[in-house]
Symmetry: C2
Subunit: 262 residues, 2 copies
C-alpha cells in the first residue's frame, strides 16, 4: 500500500505525534510505502486567500470557488498545493492525524483541505441531471482510495456517547468523515480515537499503541463506514433527500448510513 | 447593545462581505455600538503554535492546553489575542460572519477560536465534583452574552434538510453553535443562513438583505436555541449523558435540545 499521513500537531513529542510515529513504523514494518505531510514542520499556509491565485489581478473580485477552479484547470495552483495533490493521487490510503480541538480539526489542517481540495479536483466535478448530481459522495477523484482519522481527544469517551452532551462522536466527525472525505470519493474507515489524553497512564498508552498497530495491520481489510452513495438510487434528485420508502420517518445525519451493510 | 462582528472572508465585495456591511449599517442605525474583527484584513495568524507562548522555551515540550492556561493566567498571551479577548469582554453580542466551507468555518476563523478561546478563559474553568462538571455549556466567561452565525452556503437549502445527504443544518453547525459558543457560555441564536449563493438573483439577494436587517432589529429579543445547561440537573455527572427519564430511548445531538422550551 501507499499511505499518505497528514500530521497536524505543533509538538512532535505530543501523544498525537507518538501515534503518528507508531503508525509510520508499523506501516513500514508491513512493507508499505509511507509519505508524510507534517503541516506545522512545513509551515503550511493555513488560509486560502488572494495569494493562492496568481491569475487573479489585484483589482479583480476574488471568488474562491471560481478562482480555485480556473487555477486548477490551468495548472496555476501554488507549488505547495500541487505537491499535496500529487501525494494524494499517489496514495491509495490517507491518514489524518490530529487532536480534536473545539470539536473539529486544527485550523492548519482545515486550511490544508481548503487549499488542496480545489474546485474541479475534489468538488465541482461532473454533470448535474435527473439521475446524478455531480460526481461526489462515494465517487470522485479519490474513488477507490481509503481514508481514516487518527485523533486524540481531551474529553472522556462517555461524553461523546449516543445521549451525551458533546454529541455522538460519529456525528461530531460527520462533517469531516462524510463532508470532507466521502464527498470527494474516499472510502472512510471508522476512526481511531483516543480519549482522556491528558490523564492516561503509561499502561493505557501502551494499550492504545497496540490498538493502533492492529488498525494499521488491518487498514486494507477493515470495512468502511457504510455511507450511502449519492447517485446509486437512495436519494431523490435534485433535493438529495433520502427516498421516503427508506427508513421512513427517520431524521438526522444517521439516515445517510446504510444499516443493511453494518 | 455592544456588538462584535468577526468577519472571515478574503473578498470584501463577496456576498458574505455584503451581509456584513448590511449588519453593521442596520445595527448602527439602531443606535448600537459595533466593533469589527476583519480576520483577513488583519492578516490574522491562523495556527496556534509555539510562537503563541513566549514562556515556553525552545527545548520545552509544548502542551497547547497547559501553555495556553499559563500564558492566560500570567498575562503573557500575544497582543493580538489580548485585543480579541478584550473585545469579547466588551461586547454583549457576537456575530460570526463566514462562508460555510467544507461543512465548517474557514480555517482562519477556526484559528481565531483556537488562539482567543484560551484555557482558563473560555475552557478549563471551574471545579469538577458530583454536582457540576466545570463551568461550561450554558455557563462561563460569556454567560449573559448572545452569539449568532451569519453564514453563506453554496449548496441548496434542501440539501441540509432533516433527511438530506449533507445532514440537517442544525447538526452540521452543532460543533460550532453548541461546541464553540454555548460551551463558553453564550446564548446562541438560530443562525442566519443564506443558501445557493452562487445562483441568487438580485431580487433574492434583496429579500435576504431585508431578512438580515430584521434579524439585526430583533437581536435582543430573539429566543436562543434551547440547548440544555450542563449543570442544571438534566445530565448524569460525570458521564454527561442525558438522564434516562428525559426523552427515554432518544439518541443523537438533538437530545441536547430542551423541546419544552421550543
Amino acid at each position: 500500500m501507499k499511505v499518505l499521513i497528514v500530521f497536524a500537531h505543533p509538538e512532535p513529542q505530543s501523544l498525537t505525534g507518538h501515534l503518528k510515529d507508531v503508525a509510520v513504523k508499523e506501516l513500514k514494518a508491513q512493507g508499505h510505502e509511507v509519505k508524510i505531510t507534517d503541516l506545522y514542520a512545513q509551515n503550511w499556509k493555513s488560509s486560502v486567500d488572494r495569494d493562492d491565485f496568481e491569475q487573479v489581478s489585484k483589482d479583480d473580485k476574488l471568488s474562491v470557488v471560481f478562482s480555485s477552479h480556473t487555477a486548477y484547470a490551468e495548472g496555476k495552483l501554488t507549488d505547495d498545493v500541487k505537491v499535496e495533490q500529487e501525494k494524494l493521487l499517489w496514495a491509495d490510503t490517507l491518514l489524518l492525524h490530529f487532536p480534536l480541538w473545539w470539536f473539529s480539526m486544527p485550523a492548519i489542517l482545515k486550511g490544508w483541505v481548503e487549499r488542496v481540495f480545489s474546485c474541479g479536483f475534489a468538488y465541482g466535478v461532473g454533470e448535474h441531471d435527473d439521475e446524478k448530481w455531480g460526481v461526489r459522495y462515494g465517487d470522485g477523484i479519490f474513488a477507490g482510495k481509503r481514508a481514516m482519522l487518527v485523533i486524540t481527544i481531551g474529553g472522556w469517551k462517555e461524553h461523546y456517547g449516543d445521549r451525551a452532551i458533546n454529541g455522538p462522536i460519529d456525528d461530531v466527525l460527520y462533517p469531516i468523515n462524510h463532508g470532507m472525505l466521502f464527498y470527494p470519493g474516499f472510502s472512510v474507515l471508522p476512526p481511531f480515537a483516543l480519549y482522556n489524553t491528558h490523564r492516561l497512564s503509561e499502561e493505557q498508552i501502551k494499550i492504545a499503541t497496540e490498538d493502533l498497530r492492529e488498525r494499521m495491520r488491518t487498514l486494507g481489510s477493515t470495512d468502511p463506514i457504510a455511507y450511502r452513495k449519492q447517485n446509486d438510487g437512495d436519494y431523490n434528485i435534485p433535493a438529495l433527500t433520502l427516498r421516503d420508502d427508506i427508513e421512513p420517518g427517520a431524521k438526522g445525519m444517521s439516515v445517510n448510513l446504510d444499516k443493511s451493510k453494518k
